[in-house]
């Protein structure tokens, strides 16, 4: 796939999926809060984006200007790169290289760098606290996140996401490796800082790393964060729910259904599960998720023999 077509494809996929994530988020919030007016959910993202575009960007007294710009730009770029490693349909993939999950893992671990830069750049109290919280969450969730993806590579005998999807021809990994998907979703919430692991931009920090930005900077930050959630959901669908494999529907439709389903699940958890404390997240990451991921590696490894 030549680069131009790749850029257009990934651009369209990101815009459409970010819009769907925004719509699902408003719809789930309306349902959980017992309100009415779902029609508003379709218009809300567009009108909110237009309002932010008309607002002026803010600058603080002595920011680290380049770091503050690089944060959202890096976040958006990493979400796009993460999407390139995932094939959307049997022939349609941008960069399904032999080391696909390593590309995806590198892109997602760099998200921690983007958020730390974004929080550090503002030279203000709340973003600084948010930045160091993201470092703690990223470091605690990093190892189980990669371990669980490595487990899906064992039956596929290759690290490429296309091969992992092909290896799920008979049975999907969610059945063969039951522990994999829950651990993956928890660590995915950590890396997309969404829902219960929304520590860097939490409400107790009045917006955290995004407490000092407005206008198009805030718009870009929210779009980038939603696209990170989409990339994680797409990889979850590809590695655990059989990607574009599925009985009735065409391949690409299955991929959309599964990705949006996982994204909706993560958004739903955001509105129903309380935000965890940082100490709980570190302890959860190291003393619960890590051993469980290791058990997952060895049990599913032994099963493939």
């Amino acid at each position: 796939m030549n680069p131009l077509v790749a850029v257009v494809l990934i651009g369209v996929v990101m815009v459409v999926s970010v819009y769907l994530v925004a719509v699902i988020d408003t719809a789930v919030e309306t349902r959980v809060s017992g309100g009415r007016g779902y029609a508003r959910a379709w218009l809300a993202p567009i009108s909110r984006a237009a309002r932010l575009a008309l607002q002026r960007r803010t600058v603080t007294e002595r920011p680290d200007a380049e770091a503050w710009v690089l944060g959202p730009a890096l976040l958006g770029g990493l979400a796009a790169v993460a999407l390139t490693s995932i094939p959307f349909a049997p022939g349609v993939d941008v960069a399904d290289i032999p080391a696909g999950i390593v590309l995806f893992g590198a892109a997602l671990l760099q998200v921690m760098v983007a958020v730390v830069l974004h929080g550090w750049g503002a030279n203000s109290v709340f973003p600084l606290l948010g930045a160091f919280r993201m470092a703690a969450v990223g470091l605690s969730m990093g190892i189980p996140f990669s371990l669980v993806l490595i487990t899906t590579a064992i039956p596929a005998e290759s690290l490429s996401v296309g091969a992992i999807i092909a290896s799920q021809e008979g049975v999907w990994n969610v059945l063969r490796q039951p522990i994999g998907l829950p651990v993956y979703l928890i660590t995915a919430l950590g890396f997309s800082f969404w829902g219960p692991l929304q520590l860097p931009d939490g409400a107790d920090l009045a917006g955290g790393t995004s407490a000092e930005i407005s206008g198009t900077a805030l718009l870009v930050w929210r779009i980038a964060r939603a696209s990170i959630l989409v990339s994680l959901a797409a990889m979850g669908a590809a590695a655990f729910l059989g990607g574009y494999l599925g009985p009735w529907l065409p391949g690409w439709l299955w991929m959309i259904v599964k990705t949006m389903g996982l994204a909706a699940l993560m958004i739903w958890s955001g509105h129903r599960i309380a935000r965890a404390r940082m100490e709980s997240v570190v302890l959860l990451g190291w003393t619960v998720l890590l051993p469980v991921a290791l058990v997952d590696v060895f049990v599913s490894g032994a099963l493939t023999l």
């Binding site: 789930v28 919030e29 959980v32 809060s33 017992g34 309100g35 007016g37 508003r40 218009l43 809300a44 567009i46 009108s47 909110r48 984006a49 237009a50 309002r51 575009a53 008309l54 607002q55 002026r56 960007r57 803010t58 007294e61 002595r62 109290v125 709340f126 606290l129 160091f132 919280r133 829902g195 219960p196 929304q198 520590l199 939490g202 409400a203 107790d204 920090l205 009045a206 917006g207 995004s210 407490a211 000092e212 930005i213 407005s214 206008g215 805030l218 955001g270 509105h271 129903r272 599960i273 309380a274 935000r275 965890a276 404390r277 940082m278 100490e279 709980s280």
Partner: protein, 429 residues
């Protein structure tokens, strides 16, 4: 330009981002704005377009108003609801009347700002550097030596002792009265080392003239138990709404707020369902599971739910004949930490609803002492929030910032509650 009109056309339908500055008497009205889809209360002025000033403030001057007003990005405007315009916000638009008038004004003002940003309010504070620094120091950046001077107009934080044996910088910062993370009006001068709160000082209180709600009237003449208990349940649901949105569950918070607004004794099933959803959200396992911030024993005297959560059996309703007929039993918890206070208030909501359902036309109190939702209210004693504010410095030191915020919200503090005339016996400021 075509682009601006197109965007303004789209932005007309967006919910209006409002940053609230709320004084005494307007807290419930502004909190109910969350239920309106046309308006969106935001946690930081950077995300807002309109500044809403509501409620009564002591001696007219509103602390931090000018600073927060200028931090709102252009195009911005100010709305003063049910109050007079102080000289600072001369360009504010005055709004009287109820919520509908306010919503109409906010939406109209927002659309006006989107269409023509040139009409946005000018900054209040002068455009001059507070601290003289330009030209000082080798690079004209105002700094000298390794860590000295005031580089770019602000000094650098200094080192201070630490339990961990590594002495690093302690950052004194005033987390001001108007921030989404703390109750409206509560100002804390915090000394942060990293994300650990080492020392806390409570800022100036915003208390105004005494409130005129059901409980303060009950101090003068007996009130029907049904009304009292329904109002108590409604108060706890409003507290739950705020506390849930701080813990990251804004949707559940809206559900609690909606229930609080239309609450009648027949809503017991919905309330039980809501409380079950709160328990199932893992808030006790994930968010409030840190020990610390216990309020027990003598210091919890007269603090109502906060005292009862700490095991102190202190409830003025017990020696009221009306409640004894209804078979009233005080609910108690032992630990007295943030989780116990949450459980205490959630249990008291169901208990109050049940009492108000069975109360019929019995009346109670009226003898100068009332059991309010936040604690014991006397005709001339200090309000419970003032007592709790004195406890904060000792409770919050040593906690991580997130735990400190959860603790402050678990204490249900209203900084604008009246200090009453007889302040001398408590020594409050």
């Amino acid at each position: 330009m075509g682009v601006r009109e197109a965007l303004a056309g789209l932005a007309r339908w967006s919910p209006v981002p409002v940053f609230p500055i709320v004084g005494g008497g307007a807290r419930d009205l502004v909190r109910d704005l969350r239920l309106r889809p046309e308006v969106e209360l935001v946690a930081t002025p950077r995300h807002a377009t309109l500044l809403l000033v509501a409620g009564r403030f002591p001696s007219g001057a509103i602390p931090g108003l000018a600073v927060v007003h200028d931090q709102i990005p252009v195009p911005r405007a100010t709305v003063r609801w049910n109050g007079e315009v102080s000289d600072e916000i001369s360009s504010a638009r005055l709004v009287g009347g109820d919520e509908e008038d306010l919503i109409a004004t906010l939406v109209a003002l927002h659309r006006e700002m989107m269409a023509d940003p040139s009409r946005s309010g000018p900054p209040i504070l002068p455009d001059v550097d507070a601290v003289e620094w330009r030209g000082v120091g080798p690079y004209g950046h105002g700094g000298k030596g390794m860590t000295g001077g005031t580089p770019y107009g602000r000094p650098l934080a200094e080192r201070a002792g630490d339990r961990d044996g590594i002495e690093l910088d302690q950052l004194p910062v005033t987390i001001g009265p108007w921030v989404g993370a703390l109750p409206w009006g509560l100002e804390l001068a915090v000394k942060l080392q990293g994300d650990l709160v080492q020392e806390v000082e409570v800022g100036p209180r915003l208390s105004t003239d005494p409130p005129t709600d059901v409980f303060s009237m009950a101090t003068r003449k007996p009130m029907t138990v049904a009304v009292l208990e329904l109002e108590r349940a409604r108060h706890h649901l409003r507290w739950l709404a705020d506390a849930l949105s701080i813990q990251g569950l804004s949707a559940l918070g809206l559900r609690a707020l909606r229930l609080g607004k239309i609450l009648t004794p027949h809503h017991q099933r919905e309330v039980r369902r809501l409380l079950a959803m709160v328990r199932r959200s893992g808030i006790f396992g994930l968010a409030l599971n840190r020990a610390g911030g216990e309020v027990t024993g003598s210091q919890a005297k007269g603090l109502g739910p906060v005292a009862r959560a700490g095991g102190v059996d202190d409830d003025a309703r017990r020696d009221e004949p009306a409640y004894r007929e209804l078979g009233f039993q005080t609910i108690l918890h032992q630990k007295g930490d943030a989780a116990a206070r949450w459980r205490q208030r959630m249990a008291e909501v169901t208990q109050s609803l049940d009492l108000s359902d069975r109360a019929g036309d019995r009346t109670a109190f009226g003898a100068g002492l009332v059991e309010g939702p936040r604690g014991r209210i006397t005709a001339n004693g200090p309000s419970p929030s003032v007592v709790v504010l004195d406890l904060l410095p000792q409770l919050l030191s040593g906690l991580e910032w997130g735990d400190a915020v959860s603790l402050v919200w678990s204490l249900d503090i209203d900084p604008t509650e009246s200090v009453e005339t007889h302040v001398d016996n408590r020594g409050a400021s």
